[in-house]
Symmetry: C2
DNA sequence: GAACTTAGTGAACGGTGTTTACCGAGTTGG
DNA sequence: CCAACTCGGTAAACACCGTTCACTAAGTTC
């Protein structure tokens, strides 16, 4: 069997090498530096050989995106499994802080995956499946937090009717995702107001992190971390649980 | 005098032409398409001639950023002056909606100015001056809104001590900015809690708009506009004024 | 009108993505 | 075992790119 797949084996290996080199170039010198010729040079082959593995540079970048999403997902999941028995608010806190830490440590990857007009992120919106998605861990743990709240959140009826369809659709997706993980949520608990609040939390989490990564706060914040933590505290507090 | 500046005149004109073409390329085909050779081709000159105007492509892109910031600023100001006597909440609402409208209509410009790791935005954070800054109009009008609120905002003491220095610094900048416009704000009205809330509003505004421009909402929102409006309503409502 | 400044040129260098024809080793079937 | 076939890799070529340099010609200044 080893002999039968020998060629496939070396193929898979060089494919990994290609992406590893591409990733290294991205990290070191940014997206524009991810060059087919540079990758090939580093691997000791020629650029056209890469076309045996990817249709184009664009295609390679898309696959790179997927890799990055997978890695981010793994890191977030790891941060979560480090405190399996912690209360839901603490878990949300941990996942969010890990997301910020990762983004600041990997600005080029963050920019490619989360702030690119041209790159179609396969693991992002569109599929509808919450699995294989960048915000998966955050959204799941946020849903769990809301679900763990016995009291109904305050602003449930504030959601305008125009949003009901979209939110209901996403509600089903989230409920299914939590169910897959062994949890059980009711529609009355994870109501549309709660769904909207989870989305708003994603807006704030993404907003802060992106502003920090790109340095677009209106003034130079000497230490953004307490500001981030304060935002999380307020965010989680507003989810209904008295953190 | 006309003859004395004749050369300068044509120089200024071609300089404008260069940026106009660069802008057109950016809009049409994205940042990577903004090519010295393509610009020159469109202008009927050769690429090296552009070096008489800009040190490098990077330099040109930075100047392009400034242009874009100026344009955005003008559009936001125009939206504001269209309702000069409107109550402060309505003004904030209008400026925010205009920002979203502009970003969605100019995704490439938005990406260049607001979500770029390499481009040092001269009109963004750093200078400390609120003038010549991207968020200027939003931040000023938000400050005005908070200032117009007679009642002290609820969460003034929640801000942790670590943030005081940064917020106090920005408080002075904002007060000075409002004062320049003829307004008058007191430190007790535009207190640190209010400053923090303005920053949080910027986080949410930026977060939503960027997520929409880059298509990074966790699921496909069929019509994001009511969601945006809802966010604004909540945001403005939390500023203390009963919108 | 001489001296000087300056916008623009053309050629060149090294880099890029991509296509094409080709080769040679790995695999497969008779 | 050998012919047929698959497939990863190559070299050459094309059309781009940013950037530098020597040079020209027109505008400006004295």
């Amino acid at each position: 069997m080893t002999e039968a797949t020998r060629r496939e084996k070396v193929r898979a290996e060089t494919e990994r090498d290609i992406r590893r080199q591409a990733r290294a170039l991205l990290v070191a010198h940014g997206r524009d530096a991810v060059t087919l010729r540079a990758i090939a040079r580093e691997l000791g082959i020629t650029a056209p050989a890469l076309y045996r593995y990817y249709d184009s540079r664009e295609d390679l970048l898309n696959h790179l995106c997927e890799d990055i999403c997978r890695d981010l997902d793994a890191e977030l999941s790891a941060a979560l499994t480090e405190l399996p028995d912690a209360p839901a608010p603490a878990q949300v806190f941990a996942v969010c802080r890990e997301f910020r830490r990762w983004a600041l440590a990997h600005p080029q990857e963050f920019a490619l995956v989360f702030a690119s007009t041209d790159t179609t992120v396969p693991c992002a919106a569109g599929g509808g499946r919450v699995d294989e998605q960048f915000g998966r861990v955050f959204l799941e743990v946020a849903a769990k937090l809301v679900a763990s709240d016995p009291a109904p959140a305050p602003h449930a009826a504030d959601v305008p009717a125009e949003l009901h369809d979209d939110l209901r659709y996403y509600q089903q997706i989230l409920i299914a995702a939590v169910a897959d993980k062994g949890g059980r949520v009711d529609e009355s608990v994870l109501h549309l107001g709660a769904i909207h609040h989870i989305l708003q939390s994603w807006v704030r989490l993404y907003g802060h992190v992106a502003l920090e990564v790109f340095g677009r706060f209106p003034f130079a914040v000497s230490n953004p971390e307490p500001m981030f933590d304060l935002m999380l505290t307020q965010m989680i507090g507003e989810m209904g649980v008295t953190a």
